[in-house]
């Protein structure tokens, strides 16, 4: 029995699988990160800081001494911090109602809020513009909340749905006020998920590119837009490398701080099946809370999306499917034309492969994070790609992955790999809090009752993390469908996806081009909703066995 005692008092880290298994858990994510992130990024930074075979750090000094670039760095940080706070403020109530209240259309709403994720910035900006949102700081913040609302709602909601409401009720029975019960019981339990959501949102907005350029107006710049300008336009790799290092330092500081916060948790939570914790709205107050949140989602997310859908049907000859037909006909004689059905298939193919890579690499990493003492470092390292400029990674791929066995520059696989880099932190951050919160006594009880380790995993771990995996898979899929970041700077032969089609259509004048781009955007939105709904349905069990 003594052997088991430490497990009871210091639960999470002590479950040690056999050595080879432990090494695979760490080795796969580390190898992936080194090959597809660290090595390419180091290579491109080396071109800037190591030009003639010896280290030249003077660009760092030049950047630090440049007042305009200091302003850019400062703006980058505070707009991201402000965007994150706003997204949390708007998203947390949404996470609560979607996690706790049962109402008709709930899963559809949960799927719809992910749609902004896949929409090209230029398309969203045109909807915003049609609604009278002029380029400004306000427009940047609004767009950042628009894009990251789902991150907060689904990351936090994923854990919230599993929290036992009786814990909070018990606190209230014992005399705690509603506020006190929330801040002392629920909030601490949610902390890992809130930190994860905040970190993801911060990193996304920290490296925001299209939103800043399109909705920020011409005077606003972030480190990301500046690195793009220095690399893709001016080819000043010295300055770009110095800025990238600045970006890297900021991100590492953030991740270390987050890790510190998270490190203090490791409380085993009483997790319950989501089905048990949800209930229908009872009081007038609850009804108002639900109504207010749904109204907010409608105004913030629904209206801009509706503008795009409406435009896709508004042909010169009245409402109709003309633009959808045009999608298959416009310039169909061109070498780079792709039939819309093929673009859909390409998008789905890339998204499926990206999701698979992200789930495998991220899943292994999540287990490593909770089982290794240095797991936190791995978690932080895997989040770095979110905070590093897409153009740095993209150009890094070009100059680093040019020799066997990694001669992948013009291979299609490079696209889902780039997507997976962005999606892996979602998997790790969504799965780890649940995995870390499983009461180890459950596993031990199962083992004592004679279950094999595999059976323990299947009966205890999987039902609890299955849902987190499903949510993470949904994000991974959406990230890939929407062609986030890096892929803009990677050559994509032969297999254009829907976002590529949209960009091409918007590159030329004419009502047909614009309308067809709106039609393609609408198809992309519909595809996302179907994909998310499917991921939710297909989830691997739930805690239903209590």
């Amino acid at each position: 029995m003594d052997r088991h005692r430490p497990a009871l008092t210091h639960p999470v880290r002590s479950v040690r699988p056999l050595r080879p298994v432990r090494w695979i858990l760490v080795a796969v994510p580390v190898a992936f990160l080194v090959a597809f992130f660290a090595y390419p990024v180091a290579t491109i930074l080396g071109r800037g800081l190591w030009p003639d075979g010896h280290l030249d750090l003077s660009p760092l000094g030049d950047v630090a001494g440049n007042a305009a670039l200091r302003d850019v760095a400062w703006f980058t940080v505070w707009q991201a911090a402000l965007s994150t706070m706003l997204a949390l403020a708007v998203g947390l109530p949404g996470a609560f109602v979607l996690a706790r209240y049962r109402f008709p259309g709930r899963s559809l709403v949960r799927a719809l809020i992910v749609v902004p994720f896949v929409l090209p910035t230029i398309v969203v900006a045109s909807a915003f513009l049609a609604l009278g949102v002029e380029p400004s700081l306000g427009a940047i913040l609004l767009a950042h909340v628009f894009f990251n609302y789902a991150v907060v709602v689904r990351t936090v909601g994923g854990l919230w749905a599993h929290l036992d409401p009786q814990q909070e009720e018990a606190a209230r029975v014992l005399g705690a006020s509603r506020l006190r019960a929330f801040t002392r019981v629920t909030l601490p339990a949610l902390r890992p998920a809130i930190l994860a959501a905040a970190s993801i949102t911060f990193l996304f907005t920290f490296t925001s590119f299209g939103v800043i350029l399109v909705l920020g107006g011409p005077t606003r710049a972030t480190l990301e837009t500046e690195i793009y300008r220095q690399t893709a336009q001016l080819l000043d790799l010295r300055t770009a490398a110095a800025l990238s290092i600045l970006q890297l330092v900021a991100v590492v500081v953030l991740l270390v701080a987050t890790g510190r916060f998270q490190g203090r948790r490791a409380v085993a939570l009483g997790l319950r099946a989501a089905a048990v914790t949800t209930r229908s709205v009872r009081s007038v107050g609850e009804r108002a809370l639900l109504g207010a949140n749904l109204a907010l989602m409608l105004a913030l997310l629904g209206v801009p999306m509706a503008v795009l859908v409406a435009r896709s049907f508004a042909t010169a000859n009245g409402p109709g499917f003309g633009f959808y037909r045009a999608l298959g006909e416009l310039r169909s004689d061109s070498v780079l034309f792709v039939p819309p059905a093929d673009a859909v298939v390409n998008s789905l193919l890339f998204a499926t492969v990206a999701t698979a890579i992200a789930l495998v690499v991220g899943g292994l990493a999540a287990f490593a994070v909770v089982r290794h003492r240095r797991g936190r470092a791995l978690e932080a390292a895997l989040a770095l790609p979110l905070g590093i400029s897409a153009v740095t990674v993209g150009f890094g791929f070009l100059i680093a992955l040019d020799e066997p066995p990694l001669d992948l520059r013009t291979s299609w696989i490079i696209v889902p790999i780039a997507h997976a880099l962005i999606a892996i932190p979602f998997v790790v951050w969504l799965v780890t809090p649940l995995l870390g919160s499983i009461d180890p006594r459950l596993r031990e009880a199962a083992a004592v009752l004679g279950a094999s380790p595999r059976r323990v995993w299947r009966e205890v771990d999987l039902p609890i993390v299955g849902r987190a995996f499903a949510i993470a898979a949904g994000f991974a899929f959406a990230i890939s469908l929407g062609e986030f970041g890096a892929t803009l700077f990677i050559a994509r032969p032969d297999r254009p996806t829907l976002p590529v089609v949209i960009y091409r259509l918007l590159g030329q004048p004419g009502a047909q081009n614009f309308g067809a781009a709106m039609a393609a955007s609408t198809i992309l939105m519909a595809l996302t909703v179907v994909a998310i709904l499917t991921a939710e349905r297909a989830r691997v069990g739930d805690i239903g066995t209590f």
């Binding site: 071109r47 230029i122 900006a125 045109s126 513009l129 049609a130 380029p135 350029l213 399109v214 107006g217 011409p218 005077t219 300008r229 690399t231 893709a232 336009q233 001016l234 080819l235 042909t315 010169a316 000859n317 003309g322 045009a326 416009l330 310039r331 004689d333 061109s334 070498v335 780079l336 034309f337 150009f395 070009l398 100059i399 040019d402 020799e403 520059r409 013009t410 803009l488 700077f489 050559a491 994509r492 032969p493 032969d494 960009y503 091409r504 918007l506 590159g507 030329q508 004048p509 004419g510 009502a511 047909q512 081009n513 614009f514 309308g515």
Partner: protein, 350 residues
Amino acid sequence: MRRRGFSILCCALVTATSLAGAPAAGARDDVTLTLVTHDSFAISKSVLRSFTRETGIKVRVLPSGDAGAALNQAILTKDAPLGDLLFGVDNTFLSRALDEGVFERYRSPALTRVPAAYRIDTTHHVTPVDHGDVCINDDTAWFAEHGLAVPRTLDDLTKPAYKGRLVVENPATSSPGLAFLLATVDRYGEDGWRAYWERLRANDVKVVSGWEQAYNGEFSAGEGGGDRPLVVSYASSPAAAVYFSDPRPTEAPVGTVLDTCFRQVELVGILRGTEHPRAARRLIDFMLSRRFQEDVPLQMFVFPVRDDARLPAVFTRFADVPTDPASLAPSVIGAHREQWIDEWTDTVLR
């Protein structure tokens, strides 16, 4: 490293042999060429197929970002090129391409059909394929409705009547934006263009980061329902606006202010290090053939450089060509581009 050394040796040998004798017409090269381009490249499948039929050479098109990004990628991958040719370098970036030495020399015999104005690379590392003119476009209906005359010159744009009417692209992030800045540099000289932009700024010019936003967002004749009737776009935009409408209008909804144009010439070059220099040359010759040249307008909405290429009806009817557009020597642009963009930013945005 050994691999690269070997391929360079290979190329040297192939180059040497191909220099010894030009390929006989009709000779077949059973290779696949990779044509790296910017994202706006397009050509008809049937045209490319006819090239493959005649020569045996297959062509794979590899879009790699906007024109600046595609060139910079080519420079960064100089030691191990992504393809055999790069299309899309224009006169605003030509000097960088030449300084970095990414191209092999080739002088196509078909160049004799190209007017001297477009043969901007006298060193023959790159070959002109098309030209487009960046010009102010006007919303024809808006001006008719408001009983206002369409501006005719750059100077007109600074008049009070056109206050708050013009939207331009930021030259730091947009290729037409840079071209329009160069038009003003050419017109007002190195000492005068900043004063001109001060006047434009005082006349409430609006700056956005890219063409899509300017045309589809702010321009009143664009699709986004903007409120500015003047935009920096292309001389071919009226033709495109007609061509991509259903039903097709009989009058172009958009006009071109011909005195405000800057000429962009797009060029193709053979990437140094290619293993198929002979096939690559044949592709360049083909890109200057009438077949390819006459396909260019309706695919990319730019003009062919060949003097005998026939234009499609929608171009002859709706796309006016400026007779004397502004232009600057690529070397001058190359020497001043960044400095001018910085000065422009100080003048217009700060």
